[in-house]
């Protein structure tokens, strides 16, 4: 009964979305306020209907209702509660429901918080957002309905892929989707602006917080995914340039570019058409990511059921929305008024370079990801493009970007003074050389790559810190004056400083891990010892135990340093009988400076077990750097200007009962 209710709610949501697509759009064209007013309650109702559907599916999972096909195929009564819930989005149909839920959530949020939005823009944004909803709700109901019944119901379910039964992965899809789908908001604003034929700083003030929110979620989602791959897949790495990883990384790159170009529109009223184009492309890349991982074009844990019909439908959505938006862009963009002028050496100029470099980086990842598919489709030749390709193309583009990241924020808007900025960069130079020489001294007889990487990270950190210090007049004014300046600094400034520092820390982690990771593989019997990077590891014993829905072998490995006990770690090998699948649960001993990573392979008491150990220097800095970037985003998002969505001086304006500002 509850499943039927969910199905009904989905159909209802589709109808509401249809109304929300058409009526407000027509109202905005006719300047009819009552028709435009339909958008807000419709967005709310659509969100509630989809939430009911999502709740119904969750209910079926939690109560293990195996008469629903979707539950029978992807759940099991013995599964822990957390994975029963995360199982809702651990399959194709459920994940699409989560997708539309988040889509409607963003529409709902704009309806609720957008009280200062110009009414026609708001109506159009909600209408475009709803049209994406129509496409995806139609997709679910036609090809991927999760509420279909199974008669007679099986005694028990087929269980979730054991690799996905993990806390890190339980939250990875919702975060990633918040990011992917969040960029739909930027897309809707872009298309609405094209319909309006007008982009002004107020528009950018509206787009920025939504883009920022999506960017934060996407960053967190990718980080969670990478962290999961690191400790769950048991090969000690954190990024493999796998096509599925790239599919989420491309929207991140172009979303980062969008975040920066929106600043230029807001502050200087320039780069307007470019920002619109970037918003469209970012969402296009998000849709393409969905297409790639859902269509079964790529093989991975993400490609659930391989079904060409679904892939084709998503491809059609992609072509329709992106093609439509691009045609509209081609028609409308040339008529857009040119904005503020600027010299090449200026803050705007720096941000243009940022955008160009990020676009090139996106392009290299795009080529590397899609070329094998292209070659397979045209010649049938099968190739794979791995880390060496991306090291040779992506990294060279990142180096000038990081160099610019220290200089750009020091340039003034409109017309910057490069020599003045360079003279302020002595601290960055000093830090860069200091760290570079230190690293060279530590590893003097090895390749120079890590030295360059660390020097770059030092340059970025030095430039970012100096820019912040100058802004609050640290060491120039009295300390109390600096502190009061720091208090008055907008939060977006703190956000930028944090995010750039986070990247610097991330670079250290990534460079150190790729240059100095060491690995030991051995066949160990109980009491056998090995040593890695100054640590001594001893296999104490291996026990056989029973988990809630799996059997396991658990090893006790004692880690010592200079003969002194440091810690014991417990790597496991699990076997999930329902899916007949083994998984490796690595054990990690982490200090802030490195991880010792132990993974247990196959074996027996008589023969010994295969034991793999890695020493991963600075790898915690990768996660720390990403978290600091996320934190920077959150701090920036909490900026008063963005929260209210309108400049301070207008914030106190009275709001009428209908939610429109007085002068609307």
């Amino acid at each position: 009964m509850i499943a039927e209710l969910g199905h009904y709610a989905l159909v209802l949501a589709l109808l509401i979305a249809l109304v929300q697509t058409t009526v407000p759009l027509y109202g905005a064209a006719k300047n009819d306020f009552s028709l435009m007013g339909v958008a807000q309650p419709a967005a709310t109702a659509q969100f509630i209907a989809i939430a009911i559907a999502f709740g119904a599916l969750t209910h079926a999972y939690v109560t293990s209702d195996f008469s629903v096909i979707n539950v029978a195929e992807n759940s099991h009564s013995l599964k822990p509660l957390l994975y029963k819930i995360s199982g809702v989005w651990g399959n194709h149909e459920g994940s699409m429901i989560l997708w539309v839920l988040i889509l409607a959530l963003f529409g709902f949020a704009v309806a609720q918080f957008g009280i200062h939005l110009p009414p026609t823009l708001k109506a159009r944004v909600l209408s475009v957002q709803a049209s994406i909803g129509v496409a995806f709700l139609g997709f679910i109901l036609l090809t991927s309905n999760p509420f279909l019944r199974l008669d007679p119901p099986p005694v028990d379910g087929r269980d979730l892929n054991p690799l996905l039964q993990d806390p890190g992965l339980a939250f990875h899809p919702p975060m990633l989707y918040l990011g992917y789908v969040g960029f739909s908001m930027a897309f809707s604003f872009a298309v609405a602006a094209l319909i309006e034929g007008r982009v002004d700083p107020a528009w950018a003030r509206w787009v920025r917080p939504w883009t920022l929110a999506a960017w934060i979620a996407l960053t967190a989602g990718i980080t969670l995914g990478s962290w999961w791959a690191y400790y769950e897949l048991g090969w000690g790495g954190w990024w493999y340039w796998d096509p599925v990883e790239n599919a989420s990384f491309m929207p991140w790159l172009s979303g980062t570019a969008l975040l920066h170009s929106a600043v230029v529109v807001e502050k200087r009223d320039a780069l307007k058409s470019w920002t619109i184009l970037l918003a469209i492309l970012t969402f296009a890349l998000s849709l393409m990511g969905t297409f790639l991982v859902r269509s079964g074009v790529l093989t991975s844990v993400h490609a659930f059921a391989v079904d060409p019909e679904r892939g084709l439908y998503i491809l059609a959505i992609l072509v329709l929305f992106v093609g439509g938006a691009l045609i509209m862009f081609a028609l409308r963009a040339p008529s857009m008024k040119l904005g503020g002028l600027f010299q090449p050496i200026s803050r705007e100029g720096g941000l243009v370079m940022n955008n160009l470099l990020l676009s090139v980086a996106t392009a290299t990842v795009f080529i590397g990801t899609l070329y094998p598919l292209f070659l397979d489709a045209t010649t049938g030749q099968k190739v794979s493009v791995g880390p060496p390709f991306f090291n040779a193309t992506f990294v060279p583009v990142m180096i000038p970007l990081v160099l610019l990241m220290a200089i750009g924020p020091m340039l003034a808007w409109k017309r910057g003074d490069l020599s003045a900025a360079m003279s302020r960069l002595w601290f960055a130079v000093a830090l860069s050389f200091g760290i570079g020489i230190f690293v060279f001294w530590l590893h003097s007889n090895e390749p120079l790559t890590p030295v360059i990487g660390f020097a770059l990270a030092g340059w970025l950190a030095g430039g970012t810190l100096k820019e912040f210090a100058d802004r609050i007049g640290l060491f120039r004014d009295q300390l109390s004056k600096s502190l009061s300046k720091a208090r008055r600094l907008p939060r977006s400034a703190y956000g930028m400083t944090l995010a750039h520092l986070g990247l610097s820390i991330f670079i250290c982690g990534a460079v150190a891990d790729s240059a100095w990771r060491t690995e030991v593989v051995l066949n160990a019997k109980e009491r056998d010892k090995t040593s890695i990077a100054g640590f001594e590891a001893q296999l104490e014993n291996v026990e056989r135990l029973e988990g809630p829905n799996y059997h396991l072998e658990r090893a006790t490995v004692v880690i010592r340093k200079n003969g002194k006990y440091v810690t014991s770690v417990f790597p496991e090998r699990r076997f999930y009988p329902v899916q007949q699948m083994p998984t490796t649960e690595a054990a990690i001993y982490t200090t802030l400076l490195a991880d010792v990573y132990v993974s247990l392979g196959e074996g027996s008491k008589a023969q010994g077990w295969t034991l793999r150990l890695w020493y991963n220097p600075l790898i915690p800095w990768i996660w720390a750097g990403c978290l600091i970037m996320v934190l920077g985003g959150l701090v920036s998002l909490s900026d008063r200007r963005l929260r209210i969505g309108t400049p301070l001086k207008r914030a106190h304006k009275k709001v009428q009962a209908n939610g429109l500002p007085e002068n609307a």
């Binding site: 002028l341 392009a363 099968k382 593989v521 066949n523 793999r612």
Partner: protein, 147 residues
């Protein structure tokens, strides 16, 4: 700078960047593309023993041998027409099984494949996509209907 010149500069810069990206990518492709072969392909294809390639197929039943220390293994990859012996030093992935699909990446030297990586990534049919396609090509595919 006039708006027109500014726009030209932007377009120029953009084109320069696109050219850079293309050059980088094409250059990198030459050295880094890893081609995939089935054991049958390798009979009449000359490959460079210094260049990494991928070979995929099924792990032949009862072909897996482990050395005394359990760290180096040998097995045979077959596409049911022809087969290729593989040696590998390292831990095999969790999902490596005889009779199931596998992809090995490494170097082919004098008819012996020296694997650097062994991948047993899979969908629900325990079959890497490349392997499924090459089996379909040789008409030996008996897998699930979903493919």
């Amino acid at each position: 700078m006039t708006p027109k010149r500014r726009r030209l500069t932007m377009v120029g810069l953009g084109l320069l960047m696109v050219a850079t990206a293309t050059t980088l990518a094409l250059n990198a492709f030459e050295d880094t593309l890893v081609f995939f072969y089935s054991p049958t392909d390798l009979i009449d294809t000359k490959t460079n023993p210094k260049k990494q390639i991928r070979v995929g197929g099924l792990v032949e039943e009862k072909s897996l041998l482990k050395s005394g220390d359990g760290l180096s293994v040998s097995f045979t990859i077959t596409d049911l027409d022809n087969s290729l012996p593989v040696i590998f030093n390292g831990a095999l992935p969790d999902l490596f099984r005889e009779g199931q699909g596998v992809v090995a990446e490494g170097y082919l030297v004098d008819g012996l494949f020296q694997a650097k990586h062994v991948l047993a990534k899979h969908d629900e049919n325990y079959m890497p996509k490349e392997v499924a396609d090459s089996l379909k090509k040789s008409g030996k595919w008996k897998g699930g209907s979903k493919q």
